[in-house]
């Protein structure tokens, strides 16, 4: 009796929730039409390929006003659907609406002008890479319950090592050494938090400051006096045969450099590792309930060391992107907070590699979008566009992630008694 009693409790909760979401979607659609739809005319021209491309696609030309009107209508329609049907999870519809909203915005911004959509998407992927890698590094550490605020520093170290050693030994060895340096800092972090039980966040902050200092110092005392040490050959983009010829997709995914390819690879591999393999299971156990793991003969200490070092290496690789994957030259503090955004992406993605990747792509998109709009010169101040991803993160962390659980033992030092 009690059961079906709270069963219909459940139902009316659901319906209430769907009512709220539905209505807000309808409102949202309305707002979009109000802001973007009214008073725009002309067409938005999105260039999909360069004249030089083998199969050049015609430009995608959209009549601004009607397109925006349509997407606004669709969003409203989804809202209505949710209210009536009260489906199990609204996420698909909300995602779709979100997508439509962005599309509408783009069309509005481009009305009467044109820009290269492909270019923007390509930039999106490129911009997402360091963030995604930072997030992967974060996941590796936090899955074994070690908070790694030091990722920013590790990225920077990787960038520096990449530039320096790349200039001396060529980019491949440079990359390897960058990874090792990252791993080195991973080791230091592990030693500090696991062995010496330094507060995890303090240790991370210290690493950030330290790396910032030492890299800048060496830049001034080593690289300035001999510039040839700060001029590494970069990894040029590799065009994957045939695939790269596909219009749009081709140049977005298959005309990139190894960092992009490896980034995707790392995401896949680490998903497999964490959720399919025995080692992954043990790692997660250490993150959730170290004592239990210990009683089953899993060494918490070793596991944490290994994974934090692994995280460091991924960060080192991500750092190398800034130099070997971009301009081949190190500038002081050139990582510019990507490590922190990576952490946000990790939480956004709920400590899951794939989720984190998508979060990173979102940031990357916002990043490149902002540059396009600078050319299109919209009335919206670029500063506000630049804020968008950070605002989104805050909303997400406050709203969605409120109920997503991090590994249980996170932040706690493990004391082995004997």
């Amino acid at each position: 009796m009690m059961n079906n009693l709270n069963k219909d409790k459940f139902d009316n909760i659901k319906t209430k929730k769907s009512l709220i979401i539905g209505l807000s979607l309808i409102f949202f659609g309305f707002v979009i039409y109000l802001f973007f739809g009214l008073g725009v005319e002309g067409q938005a021209t999105f260039r999909l390929s360069r004249p030089t491309d083998p199969f050049a696609l015609p430009n995608l030309i959209l009549p601004a006003h009607s397109f925006i009107g349509l997407s606004a209508l669709l969003i409203a329609f989804f809202g209505g659907r949710i209210i009536i049907k009260a489906p199990k999870n609204f996420t698909i519809f909300m995602a779709l609406s979100f997508f439509l909203a962005i599309a509408a915005f783009l069309v509005w911004a481009t009305a009467g002008k044109s820009f290269s959509l492909t270019g923007m998407l390509q930039a999106t992927v490129v911009r997402a890479v360091p963030i995604a890698l930072a997030a992967m590094a974060g996941i590796m550490c936090e899955r074994v319950a070690v908070i790694n605020i030091g990722i920013e520093g590790m990225l920077l170290a990787g960038a520096f090592a990449g530039a320096l050693f790349g200039s001396i030994f060529g980019n491949l060895i440079g990359l390897i050494l960058a990874i090792l340096v990252g791993g080195g800092f991973g080791f230091i972090l592990a030693a500090l938090v696991v062995t010496f039980r330094v507060d995890q966040i303090i240790a991370g902050v210290a690493i950030n400051i330290f790396v910032l200092g030492i890299t800048s110092f060496l830049t001034n005392h080593l690289l300035k006096s001999n510039p040839e040490l700060n001029d590494a050959p970069i990894f040029k983009s590799i065009h994957i045969p045939f695939l790269s010829e596909i219009p749009v997709l081709g140049s977005v995914f298959f005309k990139q450099n190894i960092f992009v390819y490896f980034c995707i690879f790392i995401v896949l591999i680490s998903t497999y590792y964490l959720f399919k393999t025995a080692y992954g299971l043990r790692a997660r156990a250490v993150g959730e309930h170290p004592k239990a793991a210990e009683t089953l003969g899993i060494s918490v200490i070793k596991t944490r060391f290994n994974h934090v070092i692994m995280g460091g290496m991924i960060a080192g690789f991500g750092g190398a992107w800034f130099t070997l994957g971009s301009v081949g030259r190190f500038d002081e503090g050139m990582t510019g907070g990507r490590g922190f955004i990576g952490l946000a992406a990790m939480i956004f993605g709920r400590w899951h590699p794939v989720g984190a990747l998508f979060a990173a792509l979102l940031f990357g998109f916002a990043d490149s979008l902002q540059q396009k709009l600078a050319i299109l010169r919209t009335p919206i101040p670029s500063e506000f566009l630049a804020m968008a991803p950070y605002l989104v993160t805050i909303i997400v962390v406050a709203g969605i992630v409120g109920n997503a659980k991090p590994p249980q033992a996170i932040g706690k030092a493990y004391v082995k008694e004997n």
């Binding site: 290269s116 492909t118 270019g119 930039a123 830049t219 301009v327 081949g328 030259r329 500038d331 600078a374």
Partner: protein, 311 residues
């Protein structure tokens, strides 16, 4: 010398000025001190410590240091200052402001690139929206406009609108990564020649051009001749818009030595050779002989005043 943020090895702005100092060291054996500013809060203390270090002349490199330099100069009437890219009115007795008519040189570069461009689109972007930077961009845009007028073509300039004074800015002078991204962005929009006016940021653009190949994307350097400062990628530089701070700095130092120093303003122009454009080096082949000669006549025209750039 106190540098602006960006560092003395920026292959451009600070470095060119510093070269002037080193020339002086080489020629006259004066000794030199360098303070690099990490942030704008460093300007004043740095200038002060230079004063305390008892320098004969303190060289402030950069428009952004205008305020700080003025304060320092007024607080220390008896030490000599010179600042690059800032002109005070009324002038301060113990500051020599060095400014440059870079728009004249950039005008030539603009005309040149309009002539060289295959896609009919050229681009530029700046570091921060301040006169010393936008001077370049104005000239560049005007140059292209002039080309369109005389040739009846329609070459587009992306990244700067000289009338609205709006355009693309990285809002920093140090992120080469941005340099690459912005160049990529312009390239995606069809530009095949880009002039980055943001000190070392431009190196990022150069490395993109290097990656794509100079047939797809060419770069125009600023301040110094980038084929000299960045020989590794000399293949991608169509030319550079020269702003010969090294020369002026050297002369200021000499004037101090000879006691002929006085505050005020000096202006570098095409006429007095304070500004100019670099030889075409590797990409000379891209520049047809008649285009080259047109540019030369333009130069004369500007000096003589027969050509008014902005119309």
């Amino acid at each position: 010398q106190v540098t602006d943020v960006g560092g003395v090895d920026d292959k451009s702005f600070n470095q060119t000025a510093w070269k002037g100092v080193q020339d002086a060291v080489a020629k006259h054996g004066v000794d030199s001190k360098l303070l690099e500013s990490k942030s704008e809060t460093d300007y004043e203390p740095h200038l002060n410590s230079m004063v305390n270090a008892g320098c004969d002349v303190i060289i402030a490199v950069g428009f952004l240091m205008g305020e700080a330099t003025k304060n320092a100069a007024e607080a220390n009437k008896d030490s000599n200052f010179t600042i690059i890219d800032f002109a005070y009115d009324p002038t301060v007795p113990n500051i020599l402001g060095q400014i440059f008519a870079t728009d004249q040189a950039a005008f030539l570069a603009g005309y040149l690139s309009a002539g060289v461009s295959k896609t009919g689109v050229v681009g530029t972007f700046g570091g921060i929206n301040i006169p010393p930077v936008t001077g370049f961009m104005d000239g560049f845009a005007w140059g292209v406009k002039h080309y369109n007028k005389v040739k009846g073509k329609n070459v587009q300039v992306l990244g700067w609108d000289p009338d609205a004074k709006e355009g693309l800015f990285t809002n920093n002078f140090d992120s080469t990564d941005d340099g690459k991204a912005f160049a990529q962005n312009l390239y995606d929009e069809g530009a095949d020649i880009v002039m980055p006016v943001a000190g070392p940021v431009g190196l990022g653009s150069a490395s993109l051009a290097d990656e794509l190949g100079s047939d797809k994307l060419k770069i125009i350097g600023v301040d110094g001749d980038w084929t000299q400062t960045d020989p590794a990628r000399k293949g991608v530089y169509l030319t550079s818009v020269l702003k010969k701070m090294d020369v002026t700095v050297l002369s200021v130092i000499e004037s101090v030595k000879s006691g002929s120093y006085s505050g005020g303003i000096t202006v570098g122009t095409l006429e007095n050779g304070g500004v100019g454009i670099a030889p075409y080096h590797d990409l000379a082949s891209e520049v047809s002989s008649e285009l080259a000669s047109e540019v030369e006549t333009l130069r004369k025209g500007i000096i003589s005043g027969s050509i008014v750039m902005n119309k």
